[in-house]
Amino acid sequence: MFLVYPSIDTFRRSLMNSNSTEFVGLESYARVFAKEETQLALLNSLLWMIVFTGVTTLLGLLIAVMIERVWYDVIVKTLVFLPMAISFTAAAVIWRFVYGFQPTGFPQWGAANAALTTLGFDSHPFLISKEVIPFYGINNVAVIVAAVWMTTGFAMMVFSAAIRSLPQELLEAARVDGAKEWQVFWHIIRPSIMPTIYVVATVLVISALKVFDLVFVMTGGLFETDVVANRMYKEMFEYREFGIATALSVILLFLSLPVIAINIRRFRRQERER
């Protein structure tokens, strides 16, 4: 009732004009791909999918492997995991504060710029700057950093549990045989937790596609930081472009379809084993 009917209705509307009164076929989709703002949002979401997913997965894995070898693992785990509990809205406030900008020469109250100026660099308006690093503005990366800060704890927790469930004798045996730590990781840990890495990455891809709150509060999608979900909100409630908004959401669904397939296949396999 809350998902099925609306999804079908959304699909229907995506084939109609901007106020859903006339059937226009695929015109809205054509407009999505032709319009500069929506193109930008799609490209940025692509960046999110790749960079956010990649960095969060790797960092989570790295921390999970490292904390296995120290006695204060619980403390690090709790600290890294903590941001999971708070809202993206609060995180957005926290990171806007970190990125606070004053011109060079004035006292900096934003931590990022204070660090920069202390090291002798000029201060930098991180959330506004479109200064390009490969194809994207640095401000996109600044928002993604906040998302990584929030989500790494999730990846770390899942990986850490996966690593602990491995037979410890196996790891010990390899170490006794003189294997270096990175060899133990690469040849034993990595292959055996590959399925877990896969699951975490798909979860992260989906959340990258749907990211909204963080962009909405941190930049409002201005200065070329827009993403699909935020663009959709704008098209829907600011421009009343229902055709484009719904077309965007259908595109979002299609991008996440592979994950639906994976989920169902995995479930089928589990059921057979039951």
């Binding site: 009917y5 609306p6 509307r13 809205t89 406030v93 006794v176 749907k210 909405f216 829907m236």
Partner: protein
Amino acid sequence: MRLQPDTRIQRVIRAASRGPLHLALIAIALLWTFPSVGLLVSSFRPKLNVATSGWWTAFQLPFEFTLENYAFVLFRRGVGDSFVSSILITVPATFLTILVAAFAAFAFAWMSFRLRDFLFFFVIALLVVPLQMTLIPLLNLLGFFKLNATYLGIWLVHMGFGLPFAVFLLRNFFAALPREMLEASQVDGASSRVVFFKIVLPLSTPALASLAIFMFLWIWNDLLVALIFLGGSPELVPGILPPVSADRGPLTLTIASLVSSRGADWELLTAAAFVSMVLPLAVFFALQRYFVRGLLTGGLRG
């Protein structure tokens, strides 16, 4: 290969070689704590200090801290009302979701009916339907029943979005319960209802607890649903009736609007943000074990 006992020198070398590891971990721990501590410290500093110096300078004499920021946002900027509103939204919605999900999960796990497996696949497929797919039609639907911008309306919406995950998690837990026990009690003449309330629910407390934490955090931390179904401008959507109640939105909504209206008043923003973090953090610390367990069995919602 035979293990050589460590000499003292070897042990020292090994400890030293682990130096970078400790350094990296401590750096990570600091990096992850630093932003939140900055927020917390700033929320207790006077306006002028926040705007002119970094929060890390607050720890030198003279110490200047104040509770004024909190008093101001709580009573003059509606953050106090929003706190109440967040609770009024989150608690019933969490309860409703779990109740309905538990019934459905029980049916999926232990009753046989036509199309059962098909329907359950369907629920799993729904796990990944992006919320955004459903917004406009749902808004119209709620408008049709005159439920827009009402508590009942937003409870139902949150329940709708939370159910697939909740049913999925609970069904898997219920299905793993020992079959003999359930069958034995049915042989003894217990009805499905008795089995559900007297056996299945008490046995499932851990699963119910982790689900409750998940739902609580999702709903408390949600901005999108609140923005669309409570705040924003509902009159923009064709076919929508005017809002029934003009209650204050939840904390996320209030903070988002504070950011756009008073984005430079950091002493207020930091205090408001911290108010919104208090309850989730308390829940998190109190019930971390259940939270992690739920995370590991269920994964994140879509």
